[in-house]
Amino acid sequence: MENSSLPAALELKELHGVAAAFESPDKLLKAAKAVRKSGFTKVEAYTPFPIHGIDDVLGIPHSHLGRIVICCGALGATAALTLIAWTGSGDPLLFPYWTGLGAYPLVIGGKPLFSFEPSIPITFELTVLLSAFGAVFGMFALNGLPQLYHPIFNFRHADRITDDQFVLVIEKADPKFDATECTRLLQELDPVTVEMVEE
């Protein structure tokens, strides 16, 4: 274990929190439980892959991405049906296509001027397309990405987060935060290193 120290200069700068790196998901989970048990609420974990169970320990709420996707999907379906009806009618205000009186009422293959069935493939595809946009861009929006700077990148082991280390941060925003106290607590939990991280 490396020694953590408090360089004098650091005290002058804004602090983001105290970070500890662990070498396995099990140690991270154990440490997160201990930290939460001590009453800290502003705790964040940074890991190379999703760790199951960490959300409950850290009290991270369920993702509401599904609601965004449902809305986007409904928009896609509406857009598709509107598109088919409007382009068939030639009238941007009314949809006489539905009554077969549109500007382009061609009878093709003896089929009715409007029937629901042939509209389904395009409605389905646009529903999926807009839902997928919702899922991807909604996820990025909820995560606040792209965000090219974050204080965690100041942590000396930040480059190991995407490699093989599992990092726990007690943030300064926590009402119970005390740099020395947090450092001591984290050091007891078998970390690779514990460090102060600047804002």
Binding site: P48, F49, P50, V128, A135, F140, L145, L148, Y149
Partner: protein, 468 residues
């Protein structure tokens, strides 16, 4: 009585081989996969890349010739209005389907073995769709105006809208949605791995990767939304991939041509697409794992599973061939009966029997474990399947068209050199894109394989999971 109890991890490994082999750690996984894109360009890569670029260039030259001269440079002519162009389009689109099956459907079924191959298979999907898109685009003859013919955009080019009751218009929406969603899914999977590469890079490279990874930092809150997005995308892609080849089959099934007008087409096309896609994945992966030294990540078990999928889909496709013949006979419709007798025994008999021997007979070797675990055998078999699935589309399209209802409208299709060189050219385009991918992007999903490794470690520590 034999003692069947599993007493050691070694015994368990014999029953269910591990998906990550060779004493891998999180660190070694990062290293093994990242080094492929970080070290200098090997000479072998150039030896594969330069010919591929040349062949892709030939495709663009042929397409340029087509645009200048007209689509008469292809061999299509009345009564065979669709020939190699649509055959190649369906063939390429079908190949893409394995990528989505692996990334989405196997994800929903919790098939952990998908993680080593999903990135490359998804890349294959994108590149196959890019190759497929050339054909309908250039069959219009004027691709720069095709955007108004394909998509409902206000214009003074036609002064009319698309026919939304046409399966060809459905196909435009299906294929463009498929390409877009596949690209999004692929990018979402890439973000954490680009962050891994960023954290190992320095200088300009680190900046570029920093932008590309959107500043990903692996926070637990981010992972929660990320996993939800991944699950939703898998849930969306599953019906999407089934719909795409269903709609491709509607191009034929909704028409009234004997040999095309059958209700069996959607499931038959989807099974064939997955069949040919897995064959292409096996072709590419057997070469890639060997040349990139990834045998401990893309293991024999992965390859064996893919062989099983090929065997299963081959049986479905074979069953569909049989059903088609039976229904043609049982329908009592003389035109339908003629179309199918003509397929198997007419002037194109050789293509029909090439299809049957490649698609139905060849994969039967995968009943034997020796064949499912032998890399050279599966490589050769996968090439045969690729050929067989090309013939399947050729048989369906060309033999159904070449003898119209009136014998005065009978013909025989011969490809021109432009047909042949364009098709070979698309393979060059595909290989060019695939080689660029393995050179610049992580070929295996690093963060996903780490998740599998964590789980396998967990299993070995706690009673070897022998009860599952």
């Amino acid at each position: 009585m034999a003692d069947l109890a599993i007493k050691s991890p070694e015994m368990l490994d014999e029953v269910t081989p591990r998906l990550v082999q060779g004493n891998s750690t999180y660190r070694s996984l990062t290293e093994d996969i990242s080094r492929i894109v970080e070290k200098g360009t090997p000479i072998q890569w150039w030896m594969a890349f330069l010919p591929s670029v040349a062949i892709a260039g030939m495709m663009f030259a042929m397409l340029g010739y087509l645009v200048i001269t007209g689509i008469g440079v292809w061999g299509n002519n009345s009564p065979i209005g669709w020939a190699w162009d649509i055959t190649n389009f369906v063939w390429w689109i079908g190949i893409g389907h394995a990528g989505t099956l692996i990334s989405a459907i196997l994800f929903l079924f919790r098939q952990k073995w998908r993680t080593s191959i999903n990135r490359a298979a998804e890349a294959m999907t994108l590149f196959a769709v890019a190759c497929a898109a050339q054909y309908p685009l250039f069959h219009t003859g004027r691709p720069w105006r095709a955007i108004y013919w394909l998509f409902p955009l206000p214009n003074t080019d036609l002064n009319m809208w698309q026919n939304f009751r046409s399966p060809l218009e459905w196909d435009v929406f299906a294929v463009s949605t498929y390409g877009t969603v596949s690209a999004l899914f692929w990018f979402v999977g890439l973000v954490p791995d680009l962050a891994t590469l960023r954290d190992r890079a320095t200088g300009v490279r680190a900046y570029v990767l920093g932008f590309a990874s959107l500043g990903w930092r692996g926070s637990a809150r981010h992972w929660r939304h990320y996993e939800m997005a991944y699950l939703i995308l898998a849930g969306l892609s599953t019906p999407l991939v089934l719909s795409v080849h269903t709609i491709v089959s509607f191009d034929f099934a909704v028409s009234l041509i004997p040999g095309w007008h059958t209700t069996i087409f959607p499931p038959y096309f989807v099974a064939g697409a997955i069949f040919s896609g897995f064959a292409m994945v096996v072709t590419l992966m057997t070469v890639a794992r060997w040349s990139l030294q990834l045998q401990h990540l893309i293991t024999t078990k992965h390859l064996e599973n893919m062989c099983k999928v090929m065997l299963a889909t081959s049986m479905i496709v074979g069953y569909a061939y049989g059903t088609e013949l039976f229904i043609a006979w049982y329908s009592g419709n003389p035109y339908e009966q003629f179309a199918f007798a003509n397929r198997a025994l007419g002037p194109y008999w050789w293509s029909y029997w090439a299809m049957v021997s490649c698609n139905v007979i060849t994969p039967q070797i995968f009943w034997f474990k020796k064949c499912r675990t032998s890399v050279p055998i599966m490589f050769v078999a996968s090439i045969f399947i690729n050929i067989g699935m090309w013939f399947e589309r050729f048989v369906i399209i060309v033999t159904s068209l070449h003898r119209d209802f009136l014998p005065s409208s009978w013909g025989y299709f011969r490809p021109t050199y432009v047909d042949i060189l364009t098709f070979i050219g698309t393979m060059g385009l595909f290989m060019t894109l695939f080689l660029l991918f393995i050179r610049f992007l992580p070929v295996i999903a690093i963060s996903e394989v780490k998740g599998v490794l964590a789980q396998e470690d967990h299993v070995t520590k706690h009673g070897h999971g022998a009860h599952h």
